[in-house]
């Protein structure tokens, strides 16, 4: 037992920064669950919460990489709104299919990102200014696109399913667990098993190669905790209508970006450019190319965000995208990305985005006045960054 406490202490000391956001999110959820008498954790609300987070979460992921390479992108909010309107116009007025509209919008988003990136790399305009110009221009473009009709109602069912639909259930076992979404349960259980399998395998490999690993007790607790959480969320979602398409997109995006940042050469180079641009250049890395790629990815994700939001509202509105960029940036900072560059994880920014939307969702549920909501959001953001700076300086 004493051994265990020692392990726990060491673990907390070394990893407090890595897990602080998870713990904070947990605490916030617990508080809301208690205050709302359980309403907060109801399947409908959790399902809603996930879908509300989607369009901010994908932006927060893109913004993480932007901030890692010491830039900022303010244009993404209205770019997302504008691209959502483009999707609506293509489908409603020109009768494009949902798929072709989506592909065009994602392509346009990538181009817009490349434009920002070019301004920053080739013309050496500070990213704050270049993207502020974009913020203004896309705001205008959105108003222009919605000028005739105001709100454009989207009637394409396939498109609207992205923001409101759920994955289908297994058709052939209707009589078992009638009130639950079976496929969701299956996916959750398979994922839980896979996590255990790969964690054990990875640990084994690390031990074989003589690496420092977590002590077994802490490792098992961590594993148990992750699996319990995963299964609990699965259970809640299955009790409603299962995994939404938005969640699918969010998970895929997170997995792809985590993979790129953690495992690929491109990811390494992104962090190197952010951590020490001169060193990166002297190591033969093309800093301009990396900058362009990161901005292009941000544009792509803006398109994705626009699609998620427009389909969720089933319409393009004149105010779509308002403040998205700031929520995304706040999410990234709450997730621990550093403005000094080179530090910040995609998964943590996703959690940061969840912290933001959980606060909003929970306070709405409790009927907290909107003015107070903003003040609390501001305090949380400041507190998160203060914590980050404080723990970082202690490391030194």
């Amino acid at each position: 037992m004493r051994e265990f406490i020692r392990h726990l202490k060491e673990f907390l000391k070394d990893h407090v920064r890595d897990y602080a956001m998870f713990i904070a999110l947990f605490a916030i959820m617990a508080v809301f669950a208690a205050l709302s008498g359980g309403d907060f954790l109801s399947p409908v609300n959790i399902s809603n919460l996930v879908d509300q987070t989607g369009y901010i979460a994908v932006l927060a992921i893109g913004e993480t990489l932007i901030i890692v390479i010491r830039h900022i992108d303010l244009s993404v909010g209205f770019l997302s709104g504008f691209l959502g309107a483009i999707a609506a116009i293509l489908m409603q007025f020109y009768h494009f299919s949902a798929l072709s509209a989506i592909i065009i919008v994602l392509g346009l988003g990538t181009l817009a990102g490349l434009l920002n990136g070019s301004l920053v790399t080739y013309l050496r305009i500070p990213s704050f200014v270049a993207t502020l110009a974009g913020w203004l221009a896309y705001r205008g473009a959105l108003l222009l696109a919605t000028k005739g009709s105001g709100t454009i109602i989207i009637t394409n069912k396939t498109f609207n399913a992205i923001g409101n639909g759920f994955i289908p259930d297994l058709p052939f076992i209707n009589n078992i667990l009638p009130n639950y979404h079976k496929l969701t349960l299956l996916v959750g259980i398979v994922a839980a098993v896979l996590i255990v399998y790969f964690s054990l395998k990875n640990r084994d490999q690390q031990i074989k190669r003589g690496f420092d690993v977590l002590p077994l007790d802490i490792f098992l607790i961590e594993l148990l905790f992750i699996d319990a959480l995963l299964l609990y969320i699965t259970f809640i979602l299955a009790a409603h209508r299962g995994i939404s398409w938005t969640l699918v997109i969010m998970i895929i995006t997170t997995v792809i970006y985590s993979f790129i940042t953690n495992r690929t050469v491109l990811g390494r180079h992104i962090y190197a450019v952010g951590g020490n641009p001169e060193a990166a250049a002297l190591s033969g890395i093309n800093v301009k190319k990396i900058t362009l790629i990161v901005f292009a990815s941000m544009g792509f994700l803006s398109g994705l965000s626009g699609i998620l939001f427009a389909s969720r509202l089933q319409s393009a509105t004149t105010t779509a995208g308002t403040l998205f960029e700031l929520y995304a940036i706040a999410g990234a900072y709450i997730g621990g990305v550093s403005a000094a560059g080179g530090v910040g994880k995609v998964i943590n920014s996703l959690i940061g985005a969840f912290v933001m939307s959980t606060l909003t969702n929970g306070m709405n549920l409790l009927g907290v006045d909107i003015s107070l909501q903003y003040i609390i959001l501001g305090i949380v953001l400041a507190a998160a960054v203060i914590f980050d700076v404080a723990t970082r300086s202690k490391e030194r």
């Binding site: 495992r263 951590g275 190591s283 033969g284």
Partner: protein, 507 residues
């Protein structure tokens, strides 16, 4: 002698109109340790950056030959492919990345499209073993290592590319004596393994220990080549070629005799870099006297600037210890503001970055450090400000239309005068001048020197920090020489000459 492994023929290079290399010839035989020496600004680093593709083909004139054949490097990658690896003077590790990530940065080991982390860590271990860094854990972040360990990581990184030629630019300037010693042993071992090494160093003792041949560069030209196997080479010989030029009357004559009246003293002054615990200045004792110009000479990395800054309220947060005695009283400056209040002033070597606010006018720059003297109620007395600025403009011959002109539009020499005016407005007793003539032309230099003489004759104590030996010899009444953070010598101006001072500086 056979074909040189590397030959640079007639290489010239300019930066925005200023030529720094004038047809340099340079050759290195295979399997040797070749040392490249020269004063600060002689063009050593520039030459090596051309050889390693940092300055690509087309940005210089002349030819690079590898094993006798002309080659063109368009990027660092090209030179690496040709087997040339360079370790730059400023360490180029990414602090937030791990050791193994740094070692393979730009040359990642891939399995498909994925980085093979395990393989990289294994290989990093082997490379670190090779450079005797086996106690470095490859999975820790670079920022958590000491400077000497970081240096080893850099060498491991360079070796990961299996170079034929390894270039090291001042690798020992940040290291302690033992650490340097170990590095030199390592270099010799690498030579045994067939790696050709080019070493840039100020420390001539080290150079003589390991060099098979030596090239001396001065003012962008090759002035000497020694083959250490066939001829006797010593420090004196090298120094003579390094300094070479003679002092003509670039310097105004003294106006008044210095007084034997100490104003400021340091007692056992230490400056420690807080992150690494390294001594930047150790046990420094100096005395500044009324009306005296005291020169402080040292090569890059000797600790001159750190010493000067630490006396001026220590703005960079080094850990300092020891005493400052000002006019017989022990004093402590917590901030530069404290120091200015006690009439001690430091004028920076880096006037653009730290000394002047370029987008402001001349008058605003002059008055900034002593705005209190211009207070009228709660506002700044602008009429008085202009009057005072105009006074300085006349006295220092600041060439500008009027005092409202933006400093950014002035020449380097004129900017330097504005900086001096700024200092004088604070009415100091002690003035620390750090490289006051760096990068300005000869005419402006003479005016600055005249001004320094005038200030001394007014009874101010002046500490002139410089890496330009002729300037130190031409201006100082007394000279301190620093090397590796220690004061290694004190000379009266009549005892000093270039060889003697340089000998102290490389000790």
């Amino acid at each position: 002698m056979g074909t040189p492994l590397i030959e640079l023929v007639n290489v010239s290079k300019s930066f925005s109109g200023v030529q720094v290399l004038f047809g340099v010839n340079f050759k290195v035989q295979p399997g040797e340790i070749h040392c490249l020496v020269g004063e600060n600004g002689a063009g050593k680093s520039t030459l090596m950056k051309i050889l390693s593709g940092v300055y690509p083909y087309g940005e210089y004139e002349g030819e690079i030959r590898l094993e006798g054949y002309p080659v063109r490097f368009f990027s660092i990658k090209d030179s690496e492919k040709a087997g040339i690896s360079i370790i730059h003077q400023e360490l180029s590790l990414v602090p937030e990345m791990t050791v193994y990530e740094n070692i393979f940065l730009g040359n990642e080991i891939k399995k498909g499209s994925i980085v093979d982390t395990f393989e990289e860590i294994e290989r990093a271990r082997q490379l670190l073993l090779k450079v005797k860094g086996e106690n470095i854990n490859p999975t820790v972040k670079a920022k958590d290592l000491s400077v000497s360990m970081q240096q080893l990581v850099e060498i491991a990184k360079a070796l990961s590319k299996n170079p034929k030629v390894l270039i090291l630019d001042e690798p020992t300037s940040a290291l302690s004596e033992t650490e340097s010693e170990n590095l030199l042993i390592l270099l010799k071992e690498l030579k045994e393994q067939g790696v050709t090494i080019i070493l840039i160093s100020h420390r001539l003792k080290e150079v003589l220990k390991v060099a098979d041949s030596i090239t001396v560069l001065r003012d962008g030209q090759t002035v000497a080549y020694f083959n250490c196997k066939t001829e006797e080479v010593d420090e004196k010989k090298i120094i003579k070629h390094m300094v070479g030029r003679e002092i003509t009357n670039l310097y105004p004559m003294p106006i008044a005799e210095p007084l034997d009246e100490p104003i400021m003293e340091t007692k056992n002054w230490n400056v420690v870099e807080p992150n690494t615990g390294r001594y930047l200045v150790k046990d420094a004792n100096i005395v500044l006297k009324k009306g005296e110009i005291v020169g402080l000479f040292g090569l890059v990395g000797a600790g001159r600037t750190e010493f000067g800054l630490s006396l001026f309220g220590n703005p960079y947060g080094y850990i300092v210890s020891g005493d400052i005695i000002l006019k017989g009283r022990k004093v402590k400056f917590k901030t530069p503001e404290d120091a200015i209040k006690q009439r001690v002033l430091y004028l920076t070597e880096d006037r653009k970055e730290k000394g002047l606010i370029l987008i402001n006018s001349i008058k605003e720059n002059i008055s900034l450090a002593n705005l209190k003297a211009l207070k009228k109620g709660i506002t700044v007395d602008e009429a008085k400000e202009i009057e005072i600025a105009q006074g300085f403009q006349k006295r220092l011959n600041i060439k500008a239309r009027n005092v409202e002109v933006n400093v950014s539009t002035l020449s380097g020499g004129t900017q330097q005068k504005v900086l001096v005016a700024k200092g004088l407005f604070a009415e100091p007793d002690v003035i620390i001048l750090d490289e006051p003539t760096r990068g300005i032309d000869v005419g402006a230099k003479y005016e600055i020197y005249t001004l320094i003489r005038e200030l001394a004759s007014e009874g101010k104590a002046i500490l002139l920090i410089s890496s330009e030996l002729p300037e130190i010899l031409g201006m100082s009444d007394r000279i301190y020489i620093m090397s590796k953070g220690k004061i290694t010598g004190e000379l009266k101006s009549e005892e000093a000459n270039q060889e003697i001072v340089m000998a102290y500086a490389v000790s």
